[in-house]
Symmetry: C2
Subunit: 542 residues, 2 copies
């Protein structure tokens, strides 16, 4: 250690220190393997796409894989397997690929379970990403975008110029306040509080005097404190009057009262941006999230049968047999193959007769899927940019709508824009899901207008989706409790004879496209290994 | 107040509370004028562009304005004045517009004072923004981009996946660590420390028991603390092994030792992102920062005389007379007009004979300009994206290079990329400025390679700039001390008879394009008012 000051060493310190190799390590590779480089984001296993030569050498060409569902998982599985020349067929119930990866444009239609037909009226060039919408850097989704040539742009997940807005939360209720302002005040007060007690060295912590000095110096910067370690406000929170040219130094406003700030609950939303999945920077495909399934689809000419609704999933020791109905004419058909990859979401799968074991059937029907919904509004003017200077990002509120998403493209130059007017979960999503389309629109307009009074004058049309009411999904994503992870998740991840489940629900990244990609890779590797082993130890049913 | 708990009211509380109108205020407009809406970013004065009708009605058409410098300030002044029909001529020493707003592309050349000619070798489509590079949402620059039709994209100023890297800073030296990891640990430990003392209610602060509870709840979320308010690490800091599909929950690493963290100094850089000028989201023009001067130039056909180096700035009670040299042939020319707007940076201006008062001349020569420099490297592969998963953003280090900027465009799809390899100030900038071009390259490569060992293998070419050595600038931006602001700044902002100074140096936004835009608007308004008043009270010299 290079620090010559006498230092209090606690056991935790020691373990931390011993756990790392001390001193200078010059070799990048060595550090990588020692896990010392903060950037090493190793996957548990390196994926190897199946190769044609694998099959040829083992004399295993011609294997037929039936894949159920042309979402991310299904198409990725086909894409990877076809690299080795597997004969893949995808059965897709809808007339489009993507599954939950769905971009709604003008003319898009949807009818929810028990609902009326809805047709989007967005202008050309405008769209709504109705399901997934953003990608963090560490997700494998990024790698697939690179491989498939999908162009990315920044998704503005975190913008200090967006708002918090709270109701029934004390004196700061019913006031839209910029997130940067709240964060500045929060940091200021909290830093001040700790700086004062750090001074007293009354902390029950293994810090030397030098450490305390460094900590106070950090707190002064972190909080924007004055020289006496007090928070008096800061220009970081914004201005009452902006600094400008000439003799205009600008004027900073006084900070909010700390007790009122705490009462408002706004501070509790700050950490939402810290999660590893949501840290900046995040990304989206240019022109709609469905550029990803479109790029996959392009790699799968002739592979996908659309409008094919699976009726039965059967298997024997020799192969699989899928019974499906062609929606166009109601005819029943069958297709056979060597293996099946089933990516059908569990709430739908549980109602399809299948040759699974009882424990598997039990697991399938016990997993709850998230109720979640969104609405998108087309506005004839981008008032949030033109009048409120918000370019992208998310406003957060404790009203039912939960959040407002501003578009991350077409800044300033696009006349019109599509906002997400609510994106909620649980009981709020159930509530909105139970409303008619026009009731959803009315309620979201009413709530949103408290934040953006321009809503009513500028709105042109809307499109809403309640994922738990979408026929082939019946939920946004799988939600595993601790008990589910223990009792059901391992079963779901076991192949059922020749049938393998894949999808975001077979991952620790539920709700993210990366979960579907990762799961597909695992199943592809597993089947490929199985095929290469065939004849040595047979696949068994159940 | 809606809080029924008995509450300690301090004087500061009372002042804060009384300073705001309490209770619910439903009318947005009223709140706007009361300054209660966190979004009100009022300028000190609303700018009104001069109108043709103003001049016609006052019979003041035909006024001739000579503008020195075709940077942002000069061209904006001409642009706004021409809306009213003023006859504007801009004299520009260079053969291009933009001044410090300069995008270096393949073929761009520059020769620094006392230096050798440098020619950029960037591939088509790649570029370096050598001066300004990013725009916050509240700057008037955004409004001009909208008005002029300049397309914007996000400038990734803050990316948790970029690194801190410190030397001579304790046990965490010589280790690149992701910013998100450092921030998570810092928040964790600091939140833990405060949560523990908050529990004891030993804080010298006017917080009720409910407030303390809310504060601790906030700290738990903020720090990612366990139920006993201790920081044990968090998946927010990233993973040793990422969560994936199937049975891969991922593995979180242990946090850094807090004392080592404090010693490293990395925590002190965290607040750099909090300044009001640097908060997310920030923006850049698509295709280079010089899209802004190009768009202005397009509005000024026939207005700009290039290669015209100002030699003398003269005036009488009747008008102004500018003597300049055409660089092409060395000839001396003169141009006369009614008013002059001089945007020449002060270090250059101080050496040009001018009819200014002595106090003005004294002010001009006493303002220090920042030493600052950048280097850009073209790499044949975007290794930072492909291998380290960094898409845009800035790595920060205490090495001389100070920072590495990753490009905010062409993610994944562009094969090659241009990085900023250093961007430094003060004595580091002087040091690099004194090196030869190849020495700068070598030193920046050597330092950067400690963070990115791929540097040496992938580098193709470089281009460096030391702004204090650029002939027509001799500095990055004006740097005012408190004493300068008191003694010199007001003088600089006073018109000198018919001559008005404009530019970022005549603003509280020095170093930002917005300073130039704001200053130009002020001078335009001032001259226009002067013109309309003419004949009533004459403009005086000195």
């Amino acid at each position: 250690m290079e620090n010559n000051q006498s230092k209090v060493i606690t056991r935790r310190d020691f373990l931390n220190y011993a756990g790392k190799v001390g001193g200078t390590v010059a070799v990048w590779g060595a550090m990588e393997s020692l896990g010392l480089l903060g950037h090493s984001l190793a996957s548990a296993e390196e994926f190897q796409a199946p190769k044609k030569s694998d099959l040829t050498m083992a004399n295993k060409n011609g294997k037929k894989i039936i894949i159920l569902g042309a979402g991310i998982a299904g198409m990725t599985a086909a894409y990877e397997l076809r690299k080795a020349g597997y004969d893949c067929t995808i059965l897709e119930a809808r007339d489009r690929t993507g599954g939950r990866n769905w971009t709604v444009r003008g003319g898009t239609t949807e009818t929810e379970i028990g609902g009326v037909k809805q047709t989007a009226k967005f202008d050309k060039g405008l769209y709504m990403n109705a399901g997934p919408a953003r990608i963090p850097q560490h997700h494998i989704t990024i790698d697939y975008c690179r491989e498939l040539g999908v162009e990315l742009e920044v998704f503005a997940n975190s913008n200090e110029f967006t708002y918090y807005y709270q109701e029934n939360a004390g004196p700061l209720s019913n006031t839209k306040i910029r997130k940067g302002t709240i964060k500045t005040d929060a940091r200021g007060y909290v830093s001040e509080l700790l700086a004062k007690v750090a001074d007293k060295a009354s902390l029950d912590a293994p810090l030397s005097k030098d450490d305390i000095d460094r900590l106070r110096d950090y707190l002064k910067r972190e909080g924007g404190l004055s020289s006496d370690f007090t928070y008096h406000g800061s220009n970081r929170r914004g201005y009452k009057i902006l600094p400008g040219g000439g003799l205009q130094p600008g004027e900073v406003d006084t900070p909010y009262n700390f007790s009122q700030l705490l009462q408002s609950g706004m501070m509790n939303n700050i950490s939402g941006d810290y999660s590893f999945q949501q840290q900046p920077m995040m990304f989206q495909p240019v022109g709609g999230i469905d550029q990803i399934p479109k790029a996959l689809e392009k790699q799968l000419p002739g592979v996908i049968t659309f409008g094919a609704e699976v009726q039965e999933i059967r298997q024997s020791s020799d192969g699989v047999r899928i019974v499906y109905q062609t929606k166009a004419n109601g005819n029943t058909k069958e297709i056979t193959g060597d293996y099946c990859i089933c990516t059908i979401p569990l709430p739908v799968l549980k109602n399809i007769p299948a040759d699974f074991t009882e424990p598997m059937k039990n697991a399938i029907k016990n997993i709850h899927y998230a109720e979640t919904g969104k609405i998108a509004f087309q506005f004839k003017n981008r008032f949030w940019e033109n009048e409120e200077r918000i370019l992208g990002g998310i406003t957060t509120t404790n009203m039912d709508i939960a959040q407002i998403w501003y578009p991350s493209s077409g800044y300033l130059t696009q006349q019109k824009g599509v906002l997400i007017g609510y994106y909620n979960f649980g009981e709020n999503a159930v509530k909105y899901g139970n409303l008619s389309l026009s009731q959803r629109e009315a309620l979201a307009l009413e709530q949103g207008a408290k934040i953006h009074p321009q809503y009513k004058k500028e709105v042109e049309n809307s499109f809403s989706v309640a994922w738990h009411k979408i026929q082939y999904n019946q939920g946004g994503w799988a939600e595993y409790t601790e008990s589910d992870l223990k009792n059901y998740y391992p079963i779901l991840n076991e192949p059922q004879g020749r049938i393998h489940l894949a999808g975001e629900h077979l991952s620790y990244l539920t709700g993210w496209m990366a979960g579907a990609f990762e799961s597909a890779r695992i199943v592809v590797s597993r089947i490929h290994k199985e095929v290469l082993k065939e004849g040595k130890s047979p696949a068994t049913v159940g």
